[in-house]
């Protein structure tokens, strides 16, 4: 009984700001941006500066909440099913379109669907870079691909996890170049780097920021990039597009989403605020330090980018298929 009473009181207390919000202009209370990955990762490190910048523009507190678990599915489905009032936003990475696709593959009820979310703005898009252990003979991507063709399933790569972003990047390349590699899934981008530095695998697709120090120290050699143009930090590294594999285009991107059904005036206000926020020093400074190029896209432009990316990844997931069904 007491539990029920206190739950009721709690519910009332929690709803109070909601009542207030209905009357006042948006935003009248703190906004939370959910980062569906643990602190210190790309999602978290993009969410914090944009939250700080938005706070300045909107003159209202913006907090980052880390809700990680199940490769991002926990936080993403939390926002997808949140009240569409503009007070709960999602900072998602490319994997947002992979998770429902993988759910479909296993025939389980998806935790959320992409339609439940409205894209607000793309904040950054960093192409993955193909790196190899520097003691291996390949000096160019061409040599690597030719060798991989000669020895299907012999050359190994590590990834951040099955159907994860780094796995998908490699899958897109394997398909475009018609090669077959051996896959070692690990529990995240960090362990994937450990695996190549320890000599347990030969190649890796990785975000540039995580490997640049190891490229500089001579441990890893960059061969090519998944971007549509060369990466500013690695101007000598060609893109797969240049090398004749336009299908191998992939970015680890970060963007803001709101639950579908968020009122149009709120979305308009957020869009306007974001336009200012991306140019604020609170956002630009940290992104520069993280060596992550800002790629701001909104509205139609972001929707188009998102749709192309989602389609590419959906095809990738389908091609990989269900692992346990594969026969030797």
């Amino acid at each position: 009984m007491t539990i029920r009473v206190s739950a009721l009181v709690l519910a009332l207390v929690l709803m109070m700001p909601a009542f207030a919000a209905a009357q006042d202009a948006y935003p009248s209370r703190p906004i939370s941006i959910v980062a569906p990955f643990p602190p210190g990762g790309v999602a978290d490190l993009t969410a914090r500066p944009i939250a700080a910048a938005l706070e300045k523009v909107l003159k209202s507190p913006v907090a980052v909440v880390n809700k990680s678990g199940a490769a991002g599915a926990v936080g993403m489905s939390f926002v997808a099913n949140a009240k569409p009032d503009g007070y709960t936003l999602l900072l998602s990475l490319s994997s947002i379109s992979i998770i429902p696709e993988a759910d479909k593959l296993f025939g389980r009820k998806p935790a959320y669907t992409v339609d439940q979310l409205v894209p607000l703005a793309l904040l950054s898009a960093d192409p993955t870079i193909l790196v190899v252990r520097s003691e291996l003979p390949w000096k160019t991507a061409k040599e690597f691909i030719e060798d991989a063709k000669k020895r299907p399933g012999q050359i190994s790569y590590s990834s951040s996890g099955i159907y994860g972003t780094l796995h998908m990047a490699m899958e897109l390349l394997s398909h475009a170049a018609d090669i077959k590699l051996r896959h070692l899934p690990t529990a995240g981008a960090g362990p994937a780097i450990n695996a190549i530095l320890g000599g347990h695998v030969d190649v890796l697709a990785s975000g540039p920021a995580a490997v640049i120090a190891h490229i500089e120290s001579g441990k890893l050699r960059p061969l090519a990039s998944w971007g549509d143009k060369r990466h500013p930090a690695l101007p000598d590294v060609p893109t797969f597009r240049e090398l004749g594999y336009p299908g191998a285009e992939f970015y680890i991107w970060a963007g803001l989403f709101a639950p579908r059904g968020t009122p149009a005036p709120v979305v308009a206000k957020l869009n306007e605020a974001l336009r200012q926020a991306v140019n604020a020093p609170e956002f630009k400074g940290p992104m520069e330090k993280l060596k992550t190029p800002i790629a701001f896209k909104q509205g139609e432009e972001f929707q188009k980018f998102f749709d192309t990316d989602a389609r590419r990844l959906a095809e990738g997931v389908k091609r990989v298929g269900r692992i346990e069904e594969k026969k030797k």
Partner: protein, 509 residues
Amino acid sequence: MAETLQNLYLGFSVALAPDILLYAFAGCLIGTLVGVLPGVGPLAGISLLLPATFGLDATRAIVMLAGIYYGAMYGGSTTSILMRIPGEAASVMTCIDGYAMARKGRAGAALAIAAVGSYVAGTVSIVLLMFLAPPLAAFALRFGPPEYLALLLLGLLVLAYMSGGSMVKSLAMAALGLLLGMVGIDQMSGYFRFHYGLVELGDGLGVVPVAVGLFGVAEILTTAGQAKPPEVIRPRLRELLPSRREWRESAAPIGRGTFLGFLIGIIPGSAHIISSFVSYAVERRLSRRPEEFGKGAVAGVAGPESANNSATSGALVPMLALGVPSGPIPAILLAAMMVHGVSPGPLLIRQQPELFWGFIASMYVGNLVLLILNLPLVGLFVNVLRVPYPYLYPAILAFAILGVYAVNSSVIDVWIMLLMGALGYVLRKLDFETAPIVLGVVLAPMIEMSLRQSLALSDGHYGIFLERPIAVTLLAVGLVLVLFNLWSFVRRGLDWRARIALAEKGEQT
């Protein structure tokens, strides 16, 4: 050598600057608090405070975050000893003998030994870190999936020493733990196991809610179920300090725990939890009175507490020397450096000598700060035991719920903790020990992952375990240990475990 000392001088000139000292102190203080709060471990503490350091410069941020990291390892023992609630996952083993000591009125001694052990381990391991970092880091990276599996199998052998009494019951509990560890997304195929429609179970049952439930909540329920309330222990001041005998008995375990923890700590992964399990087993194996373990053996506190502290420095070896995210906590420290525009990597020592050596020196200072901070706190913390149970236990339960929730803002974790509490209550009534369950939950996902990763690397050939020298060595050690045990079992018929079982039977009748 001379160069290292010169660098260290540079480091101390950075670390002893008043403002850096202040941040180190703040980090240690926050870490201690984070460790004392049940459930909230160093990972959660650093995660929650990472954003607060964005405004600082790189050295200050790293010094403070690292302070939280090893400070939490100090603080973690407090609630384990006083209330049988692991302050963080690596303190699970401390719950057993630490709490037993507290019940015997030796809480102050246990806390003091834990603090001193942590200090010795912390300081010695930084010396090791300083001199051995580059060669050890290269060695640590050679630990791939097959080596990790071999190490984990050795970890499973630890089970034999985790509890007295019935071996069958221990094995049953370990099997239950291994099964519970199977919940979640299969990392190799993406298949979702035993989720019952809850996405939150994707990463499996967390070690923290399981441990806090099985130990803390179960303890509270058991006490509440007793016919008359247990006597409130009133610790006297002169009983706060360890006796001469207790000092003597903890010296060697502290030394062994330090080296063991450091070696296990450098291996990439969440090895620091395993270090405390292994240390407990080693101490029990080497002890002349293994039957005292579980009933308040001081070595059972000294060893694991030193090991988990030393493992924290160990884990920093690959991070500092190679810029490699060797575990969840070093990964966050790396992110903190990157936020400040420092690119961590093999060149860090040369490019940022002030940061690197300042960091090392601040750890010496920080460990001393923690010792000075924690020893007087022993007197304060022990007073918690004076609070009558009707007030103490609801408060602890509230803190446990708060702590477990705070780690991932997940209500599901709170439910897991409460269910595990109920399970732990039933098991204790039936005389099952719950520590092997925690070991199972910790080891199962790691064993599965490393076994299947190894096979992914070898394309399905089991020969991979015999081709790699480190893996072979570890497996051979394991085999020798098993044979050794079998031999003593055959020769003597009754070993200490059976003697305990007999003795317990005698007590009951």
